[in-house]
Symmetry: C2
Subunit: 108 residues, 2 copies
Amino acid sequence: MRRLHPDPEQIRLDGVLSALGNPVRLGVVRALTGGAERTCNSVLAELGITAKSTMTHHWRVLRENGVIWQVPSGRETLVSLRRDDLDARYPGLLDAVLTGIGVDETAS
Amino acid sequence: MRRLHPDPEQIRLDGVLSALGNPVRLGVVRALTGGAERTCNSVLAELGITAKSTMTHHWRVLRENGVIWQVPSGRETLVSLRRDDLDARYPGLLDAVLTGIGVDETAS
C-alpha cells in the first residue's frame, strides 16, 4: 500500500514536477497559494470543476508526490499546499512555478 | 501534424513541467546544462542508456514541450537545452530544477 503522504525526505523532484505538469493540478496549486487549509469543495468551486471522480485522481497525484496535504475533517476533506516542505527541499521551485502560471495566463 | 519545435510563445508551463517530470528526462537536462550542442549518442552514453527506442519517446517529449532543440546533422542528431527561451519565459524555473536535481542526488 502506498503511503498517504510522503515524509519530506521522501519527496522526489521528478514526482513533484510530474504532479505539477497538468493544467488542472497547476490550478489547484494556485488556488492553495494563500497558504490556508481549504475544503476540496471550495477549491473545486473556484476552479469550476464538477467532475469529482476525475479530481480524486488529481488529489491523489498531488498528495502522493508531496505537493499537498489532504486530511479528512468531519464530512469534508481539507487540502493545503506543502509549501514549507517544498521550499526547504527545492528552493525557488514553487515560486518559479507560481510566477510561470501568471506568465501563461497573461500570454493566453 | 505536431510541430517539431514550439515557438517560444507557444511553450506552456504544464508541458514543460510534465516533460521534466521524469528521471530519464531530468538526466538529459542535466547532461545538457553546459549549454553546448551535443550528439544524442553522447548524452545517451553519459546516462548509460542503451534502449534507443525508449529514448525516441523521451526526446520527442522534451522537444515538443520546448525544453530542447533537436536537429539533424549529417548522420547524427544534435541536442541542446533551450535555456534562453525557458529562462526568458519562466525566470528561475530551470535553475531551481537544476538545483533540485542536485538535492535529490545528495539525499539518495
